[in-house]
């Protein structure tokens, strides 16, 4: 048996190294910034990118977990734009041209479809993702027609949901000083957050369109709070910024169990499902969404919660990866 040498040095565009978890965000100054800050908070270290990773704007981190486990290798990518189409295509490209990570997550903000289940500032983790209405035509009646069109429902792996539930419970039970998921966004008396909230709440209470939506909202739950309020629930994904109450109520009638609406994880879930079908479940990639509730899908006057929502979503995700995640799920 002879030994033959082959020179394969020209493949730089494929040179993306090992990765356990791939995290997408959409808004650079908000979601990506929060994620970077929280990765640093949990002692993750940036690692130099390969040329291909730089080209694809992928950022590489090593996240130390427990002492007897290897560091978790995390890649992050800020898409720089919203929408299921772009998120799905970019993820699909990576899944079909690279080795596949065990877990893909979208971490960012989203809108509430049910004020009892998902209040401003809460973090909703998807138990399943439903992609609906794959058309850009808006308006009440058209929207109803479009929502009837489904691009499949994507339940999140049950064992992964158990890990998430268990982490939420553990984190809630710990004092702030020991909790792994803690926010960095200031909500103390000295911070501007409280005065912004007061101002916004007064304006909203005087607005007929908004009054009912904030009736039971206890913003003081967030004062001096660092641990995010996290819930696991169904997420609807589509391709609109939902800012019309009548459509929100229509969506809620479609499925009373919806917690939140967002615009990326439907495409990402479909990309993962197609890759799993194509590659016969080789590396069995799973996907879920982490969404801080930044608005109530009514008139967009509640932007005061965007930073808190993005911060708490990233706080939860990084805390979970640090101490609640097990790649063997």
């Amino acid at each position: 048996m002879a030994a033959v040498k082959r020179n394969i040095a020209a493949g730089d565009e494929y040179d993306i190294e090992d990765c356990d978890v791939l995290i997408f965000t959409a808004i650079e100054e908000l979601e990506a910034h929060a994620l970077d800050s929280h990765l640093a908070r949990v002692d993750a270290k940036r690692v130099e990118q390969t040329p291909a990773e730089r080209l694809k704007d992928l950022h590489r981190w090593k996240l130390p977990v427990t002492a007897d486990q290897p560091d978790l290798i995390v890649l992050t990518r800020c898409l720089g734009r919203a929408g299921n189409g772009f998120a799905g295509i970019e993820l699909s490209h990576l899944l079909h041209t690279q080795h596949r990570p065990r877990l893909v997550v979208f971490c960012g903000i989203g809108g509430s479809l049910d004020m009892e289940k998902a209040q401003l500032g809460n973090v909703i983790v998807s138990s399943s993702v439903h992609w609906r209405g794959f058309d850009k035509i808006s308006g009440d009646s058209i929207s109803e027609e479009m929502r009837k069109k489904s691009l499949e429902d994507h339940p999140v792996n049950g064992r992964l949901q158990n890990l998430i539930s268990s982490f939420i419970k553990t984190n809630n039970g710990l004092p702030d000083s020991d909790a792994q998921a803690v926010g960095l966004f200031p909500t103390t008396k000295e911070s501007g957050f409280r005065s912004s909230c007061d101002k916004w709440l007064k304006a909203a209470a005087a607005d007929e369109d908004l009054r009912d939506d904030i009736a039971d909202f206890r913003v003081d739950e967030y004062y001096d709070r660092v641990k995010p309020i996290v819930r696991l629930g169904k997420v609807m994904s589509w391709d609109f910024v939902l800012n019309k109450k009548s459509i929100r109520e229509g969506v809620k009638k479609d499925d009373k169990d919806y917690f939140a609406v967002e615009m990326e994880t439907g495409g990402m879930s479909l990309a993962v499902r197609r890759a799993r079908e194509y590659f016969k479940d080789d590396a069995a990639t799973e996907v879920f969404a982490v969404r801080g509730i930044s608005d109530l899908c009514n008139k967009k006057t509640d932007d005061v919660f965007r930073e808190l929502a993005a911060d708490h979503a990233a706080a939860f995700l990084t805390g979970f990866l640090k101490s609640g995640y097990d790649s063997g799920f």
Binding site: R6, G11, D12, Q98, R100, R102, A283, G328
Partner: protein
């Protein structure tokens, strides 16, 4: 499997993707692939992803039979001498090169086919 890490990686692979991994006692290996890197869950994903691509891009279905630490050396059952000959020819034609690059493969050997050459894949960017 020569270390606890290698055994854990093999168990992880079987749990993750049973259809691409042999049972404990498989000795039908006809392909050895040496991967650059350290054993761990992420590298195991790479071994399994390689198998998905091998199946889809070159039509060769494989079962992971063992993992050895060192450089990561994996043995695969790819279905016997005919498939080994086919893969050897595809490598010679350059059709395996992009896959070797993507999955950080250092070498390929065919232990059950003495007439087939072992192949070393050379690149600089592995050692950054």
């Amino acid at each position: 499997m020569n270390t606890d890490a290698a055994k854990a990686a093999f168990s992880h692979a079987r749990r993750l993707s049973p259809s691409f991994v042999s049972g404990e006692s498989s000795d039908a290996a006809d392909l050895i692939v040496g991967f650059f890197g350290h054993i761990g869950p992420a590298a195991t994903n790479r071994m399994l992803s390689f198998q998905g691509s091998l199946y889809r891009e070159l039509g060769i279905y494989s079962k992971l039979a063992s993992i050895e630490a060192g450089c990561i050396e994996c043995t695969y059952d790819i279905g016997g001498a005919d498939m080994a000959t086919r893969l050897s020819r595809l490598i010679e034609e350059g059709r395996f090169d992009s896959m070797a690059y993507r999955y950080r493969i250092l070498f390929v050997r065919f232990p059950s086919s003495q007439n087939l050459d072992e192949v070393f894949f050379e690149r600089d960017s592995l050692y950054r």
